[in-house]
Subunit: 340 residues, 2 copies
Amino acid sequence: MTRASTIGDIARRIGVSKSTVSRGLAGSSRISADTRRRILSAAKSLHYEPNYLARGLSKSRTLAVGVILEDIMNPFFTEVAKGIQTALADRGYTMLLTSSGYVPATELELARTLLRYKVDGVLITPVSADSEAIRFLRSHRVPFFMMNEKTPDRDVNWIDSDNLAGGALAAEHLLGLGHRRFLILRNGSLHGTADRFEGLRAALEGGGLSLSDQVVLDGAVSSQDGAGLVAGFLEDGGRRDMPSAVVGCNDAVAIGAMESLFSHGIRVPGDVSVIGYDDIYMDAFIRVPLTTVHQAKFRMGQIAARGLLAVLDGTEAAGGRQFLIKPKLVIRESCREYSR
Amino acid sequence: MTRASTIGDIARRIGVSKSTVSRGLAGSSRISADTRRRILSAAKSLHYEPNYLARGLSKSRTLAVGVILEDIMNPFFTEVAKGIQTALADRGYTMLLTSSGYVPATELELARTLLRYKVDGVLITPVSADSEAIRFLRSHRVPFFMMNEKTPDRDVNWIDSDNLAGGALAAEHLLGLGHRRFLILRNGSLHGTADRFEGLRAALEGGGLSLSDQVVLDGAVSSQDGAGLVAGFLEDGGRRDMPSAVVGCNDAVAIGAMESLFSHGIRVPGDVSVIGYDDIYMDAFIRVPLTTVHQAKFRMGQIAARGLLAVLDGTEAAGGRQFLIKPKLVIRESCREYSR
DNA sequence: TTGTACGCGTTATCAA
DNA sequence: TTGATAACGCGTACAA
């Protein structure tokens, strides 16, 4: 295994010093046109590639940004990643992508690893706004941007969609269709979905309904969870008293729930309406195209990445950039007017 | 912004040399229990984190593996990534995940970037077995493993599913259901799907059919492509002579095609049968659950990652590990017996 | 068991 | 315009 060539090899080849080669490669102005040409040609024939470890060590900047997503299998997050990717590529930054699987310990481990690789900054959809990973990033003073999550803290950067408004949007749609009893699949430990639940609750009470009349199941995050919770409810006698609408805290959960309803012989939207949250691309393809609340995922990633870069450039203060995106209702086929 | 602490800081704090600290943190045996304890405690109170750039530079190993996928939005690839991730994590390696978007120039750029970050090896689902990225990796002698692709080259590592057999599997299923005319959505420039097409062709001809009687549309890779190709065909007069079955070169394409059929008032499987390839998780959730050919995605990633690690360990030769996985048919609801 | 000295590949500072 | 030298943080051969 032949060693990769370095600026030292180039220097030796054409008889100049390493510093001259470094300047030539960096496109510095203080260098003669001729030596620059010789340097470039030698670099090419030696298949030279710069060593970013050495460069990073020397400059204390790596041009790499770490990204921690909650679940790489959920198209919501990968679309956010695409937004990040384009924004970073525009500026010559590299994206180091990782996935926590919603596990706080993994999230912390990933933050730690990224820090050790000396990324210049981190973009993260945290499990919660005060997860250990977030505290870790803060205590180590790594520039970072939270996505899909918010916090009252004034010195943290975040971009989130207005989950309270979104939850209300979903509730009002169902109320408008005449629904009065709901099966709500939430996740109390994920702040974003907790807010959606709050918005929902407020809208229900605004409509004169009591939360205590609703069925609330906690712990939903994946489509498996959604299917499992619904199956458990139905097989546990819930069938006799089935609510007329199911509310998923995200689309994955709603899709799983819908599938479970079908396999128990319950039709959507004939017997029961289902609504989700996120507007992932597959919503249009599923068994019954899903009515949901749209989030601007690509833009979320893009804005967060650009905000982080602004911080890294030093053109922005280190913290306190905060964005709240308005969600909007997307009506497809999974919700229908309630008929006794 | 306070500088991150280093082994030098620890050394100064407790009055030993940097090498002693290095040994202490590495868990070397040649060190007294007492100094080790003092080192560890100082490291903790200083919030020390090792600098992987420096370590990598010094050891010429980074414990990082680069991964280049074709499309991070396609669940096929993210499931492969999960397999990789678990295999790498078991061994303390970090996964650097990237996505080429099927663009050869991007793929090359990513390979180059990963090399510059001095990853120990690369796992890649290449656009083709002799893409520039692959040639780049070979010429730079980076240990790598191709996934979802194969080559006759004896010294390249790869794992692929038997696409010829898989294509035949799909064809034989449809033939068995009585179908005789097919709309085939292929992609000639992606070797894997080209093989599927070959297997399909062979099976058709084995069944006494001629390829020239079939409708073959090229350039399919995403669900948008599938939808667009079908829409183009239908709106261009294909409707009058619609084949009884559509074959997608992957599930994304098949799902897009199915959606387009529906929006043109053609029922699946009532009027037309649809078959895909990959068995991505959403196949079960879509409008008409998709009959498809299963690929062991998670295992593919896992095997490739373990194979690469074996090479890095030096326990295996640098090249020539090759795996062909048998695909299998998964029957759902999108294909039905042909009736007149 | 511990310390000294050097190398990894690059950039930056200063002098020539 | 160029070169010598130090520095980035860590690991390691060698010496003590």
